[in-house]
Amino acid sequence: MNMELSRRQFLAATGAGVAGTALGAFGFGEIEAAHAEAIRAFKLVNTTETRNTCPYCSVACGIIMYSKGDLKKGEKAEIVHIEGDTDHPTNRGTLCPKGAALLDFVKAETRLKYPMVRKPGSDKFERISWNDALDRIARLMKDDRDGNFVQKNNDGVTVNRWTTTGFLAASATTNETAFATYKVVRSAGMLVFDNQARV
């Protein structure tokens, strides 16, 4: 009979109450020890649980992320497991083939780690510091805005618009990021502004 007993089932079957002595007496000691050795320790022991929602579709299933290390304590935290949140009213713990593989999204090899620049005509990306990248972006934006900002239209109406640089907003950033983005984009007078609602 090809049957694998878990440690708990084994103990139950042999009478857990007297396991310590009875096992030895029955002569099972070595088997039990070897079996316990073969079982992987429960992987979520000593992990930190964090509630989140799936970033894919708009069902917004609840998920629980388990990490080694606790961000709230200022520690570095590595997410080691993600599963459905059984308390969540919509998904009740279930996840689809995409949501069930979220850990591999967090840890994808093609996650970006450093700011990069591709110079005109170049065939490669090169590392650049955040400071240099952001300074340059701000400069490019300002030069274009200063050159092409339209304060009044041909009828003399104040229009204060900038249409030569555009902004495409996302579909998965938070509402809070969305508002910060809105303020930055609109205060600059940008009209070429869209999100991913259509595609």
Binding site: F105, V117, F125, L140, F179, A180, S187
Partner: protein, 812 residues
């Protein structure tokens, strides 16, 4: 969604048309299963493909993509002809009785006022007759020949079951079965829910597809009730939120609109937004527009927005065209009229139509900035990847910055799901390398730009240097700070309008809801419809109470639902004219003689008398609109139009090509295949697979293994006709591009017989590109036409023409 995912359990009939919830929204689809198992609900699926949703349907009806309006108006015609109308609802809660102006008519596929050169309408006749009392004239007996009901009845009469079969390719008996099942939901005790997604939106008449079903739901009395509604499934986790907060060319937060250059000052802007009620006693809630607008301007510019400068009205940019959507952006780029483009978590090289045009356009930019957690194709548009991205980097002068951002697991804040629930999430992991939050990146760009303007001056710096950026750390606003800003606060004591001695909100406090907002500059609110999300009670979006009294599916204490935690929009319409539930077993709110109360936050003033005040409080009419006046560009009623690329000519109006009011840029029209083209004879469509999410999961090992390779799907009949073998290779091409793929020959797609002629469907999933863990591949956007919906410019991805031929596969 008007309702929510968990409300679907209350329905009697689910219609999935224009979507495929079982595969694209699997964990939400469980509520369809619940309704079927626990209530005996039925499921109808109408789709060109026999999807996994169809596989568990009670009735599946095939339809040619792009013919949904003919089908839906056919169902409406069936209901009207057979008296399957919830009359009490239609008479009291819709504009059926309103009289339409003389002059308005529909003929040969066009409404009154069409200008072919402008591809636009003069909509002045698309309106009601207004009486001497200033109110719209109505005929409650519905006998006036020009009342909306009789106009509608005549308008849909052409869509007979025979005509539906000719246009849609849906066999008549299948159509009649569907129509009959839907029509049964006209009784007050039976309800139907509509679940749709991009299968309806991605058409040149996408808005009218949805409108057709919304009108049908009104005729059946299914809006505002438990288990009913119009339920947009929505594709991305926060696209509802991004739209609510107004991140679109012509929007302000909360569905207010940006001024056009015709609105030269604050007063002329407000003049068209007065929303005077069109019938006596109606709330016409947009009358509060000024309060929401001024509060928004105060959130933007704080102390610099004063009554003297009209709260900085002039600092908002003014539009000269209806909108600078993503299609117009690429058109301008292609014309060399743009310098820079910033893509935040958006991969347009795969997401926007006509990839050849996209690459040419991006190559004309001086600079491109991308912010993404993943290595996107857009950020590498200049890089040669053989046939998958055949460009010469030395010829592309665009300077590209690829900025690494955090992903959901490392970021904090709220996302709004399709049921309008704002749910807070917390970060659990450290971001890789130097990846930063979007808040940090936006703040860093902003503060640098602001500092440059402070130092150097330049073009009109006022709106930039005066932007209210008073965060504890201006270099990285926190999610909590921004959430409170969205909610809004009192800058001065807010007084009770009925008792000027009574303070409603003290200065400095967060407002409890948008009811406390004022138009005098004493309150702020970044997005009025989100007001209440984070008030003095705390962060309501983080609530996790799963209680659900009497199991209505409302879960009112879980997270926060906009507006004011209302779970079902228009819920006053769940009760009859006297305020009693149409269906006592599905009670939602009721009138007790003094006030409204029940399971949900009433969508009406709590003391508004049911006989006086209509349920559709956002409309000046107080009722819903079967006839939408001049509010849509392509007609006050939906009408059948073929896709711009169609395998057949328009049977209803043979001279009309595509949607006559859809915007087409010069040059793009020449790139459309002719109707019934010999050169491009097959009707193609795009879709998602259940194993993938857009262009993200090809970066994920598990999903890349589950569906590693790009393919196209065709019927056994087409395969036989073209000598294509199962698992072989094909070339598929349109007038704009060409792709290679493995082919899946399937029984899930069958040829449709439209007006006696077979139409073959080619299915093209959309998940592959040239970055990530999956094999390199193509996507439908290499083929699709550069044209969008007439009202909101959603690209026509779901219906276009291609040709197909077998080819030798790559050498292994």
């Amino acid at each position: 969604m008007t309702n929510s995912w968990t409300d679907i359990r209350n329905t009697d009939l689910v219609v999935i048309m224009g979507g495929n919830a079982a595969e694209a929204h699997p964990c939400g689809f469980k509520w369809v299963t619940e309704a079927k198992a626990n209530r005996g609900a039925k499921l109808i699926v109408v789709d060109p493909r026999f999807t996994r949703s169809a596989s568990v349907a009670d009735v599946y009806a095939p339809i040619r993509q792009g013919s949904d309006i003919a089908f839906l108006l056919g169902v409406m015609n069936y209901c009207i002809q057979n008296g399957k109308v919830q009359w009490d609802y239609v008479k009291a809660f819709t504009n059926a009785a309103f009289i339409v102006k003389d002059g308005f008519e529909y003929k040969d596929g066009l409404f009154t006022g069409y200008d072919e050169t402008k591809r636009d309408y003069d909509k002045s006749s698309w309106d009601y007759v207004i009486g001497d009392d200033g109110y719209a004239v109505v005929d409650d007996t519905l006998t006036h020949p020009r009342c909306v009901w009789n106009m509608l009845k005549a308008h849909v009469s052409v869509y007979t079951p025979e005509m539906v079969e000719r246009i849609c390719g849906t066999p008549k008996e299948k159509f009649l079965k569907v129509a009959e099942m839907i029509s049964e939901c006209s009784t007050p005790t039976k309800t139907m829910t509509s679940m749709y997604a991009l299968g309806w939106t991605q058409h040149s008449k996408g808005s009218q597809n949805i409108r057709s079903m919304a009108m049908l739901q009104l005729v059946l009395g299914n809006i505002g009730v438990r288990g009913g509604g119009m339920n947009a499934l929505r594709g991305h986790s926060n696209i509802q939120g991004l739209t609510d907060v107004g991140l679109m060319s012509n929007l302000l937060p909360g569905y207010m609109t940006l001024p056009t250059e015709k609105e030269v000052d604050f007063d002329s802007y407000m003049a068209t937004r007065g929303f005077k009620p069109l019938r006596p006693n109606q709330m016409s809630y947009w009358q509060n527009y000024r309060k929401f607008f001024v509060s928004f301007l105060k959130s933007m510019w704080g102390p610099a927005a004063t009554p003297e400068n009209h709260f900085a009205y002039d600092w908002l940019p003014k539009l000269d065209v209806p909108g600078y959507d993503v299609l117009r952006a690429f058109e301008l780029m292609n014309q060399g009229k743009m310098t820079g483009y910033i893509c935040q978590g958006f991969n347009p090289l795969l997401a926007a139509p006509n990839r050849t045009k996209l690459t040419a356009s991006l190559s004309k930019l001086k600079f491109l900035v991308t912010m993404d957690p993943l290595d996107t194709e857009t950020s590498r548009f200049w890089e040669n990847h053989g046939e998958f991205n055949d460009v010469d980097p030395s010829q592309i002068q665009t300077e590209v910055y690829q900025l690494p951002s955090t992903c959901f697991a490392e970021d904090e804040g709220s996302l709004t799901n399709s049921g309008r629930w704002l749910q807070w999430h917390w970060p659990g992991g450290t971001a890789p390398g130097e990846a930063k939050t979007d808040n940090w990146i936006m703040a860093q760009i902003y503060t640098r730009l602001r500092d440059l303007y402070r130092k150097e001056g330049g073009a009109f710096p006022d709106p930039i240097v005066n932007l209210d950026w008073s965060y504890a750390d201006p270099g990285e606003p926190t999610a909590e700070e921004l959430a409170k800003e969205l909610n809004g606060k009192a800058l001065a004591p807010v007084m009770d309008p009925t008792d000027p001695t009574k303070v409603v909100v003290e200065a400095g406090k967060l407002v409890p809801s948008f009811a406390a907002l004022r138009d005098d500059g004493s309150t702020t609110s970044g997005c009025w419809i989100y007001s209440g999300c984070f008030n003095e009670n705390g962060n309501n979006m983080a609530r996790r109470d799963t209680s659900d009294p009497d199991e209505t599916g409302a879960y009112s204490k879980w997270a926060f639902s906009w507006p004011v935690n209302r779970r079902i929009l228009y819920n006053r319409a769940s009760a009859d004219l006297n305020g009693k539930a149409w269906d006592p077993s599905r009670k939602l709110i009721e009138w007790d003689g003094q006030k409204w109360s029940g399971y949900d936050v009433p969508d009406i003033a709590p003391t508004a008398k049911p006989q006086d005040v209509g349920p559709f409080i956002m409309n000046a009419e107080g009722v819903s609109r079967l006839f939408v006046r001049g509010m849509m560009r392509d007609g006050p009623f939906p009408a059948h139009y073929e896709p711009f690329e169609s395998p057949v000519t328009n049977l209803i109006a043979p001279k009309v090509r595509g949607n006559p009011a859809a915007r087409v840029f010069k040059g793009d029209f020449a790139q459309f295949a002719e109707p019934a083209s010999q050169e491009f004879p097959y009707a193609a469509t795009s879709y998602r697979l259940t194993e993938h999410f857009h262009y993200w999961t090809k970066h994920v090992w598990v999903n890349a293994v589950l569906q590693p390779e790009f393919f196209v799907e065709i019927s056994e009949e087409l395969a036989k006709e073209k000598g294509i073998v199962k698992g072989g290779w094909v070339r598929v091409w349109s007038k704009r591009g060409s792709i290679k793929a493995k082919v899946v020959v399937t029984k899930r797609i069958k040829p449709l017989i439209c007006d006696g002629k077979p139409v073959h469907v080619v299915g093209i999933p959309l998940h592959w590109g040239f970055t990530g863990a999956a094999k390199k591949g193509f996507g439908p956007n290499s083929l699709t036409p550069f044209v969008g919906d007439a009202n909101i410019e959603t690209p026509e991805y779901k219906a276009f023409l291609v040709n197909i031929e077998p080819i030798a596969g790559p050498v292994a």
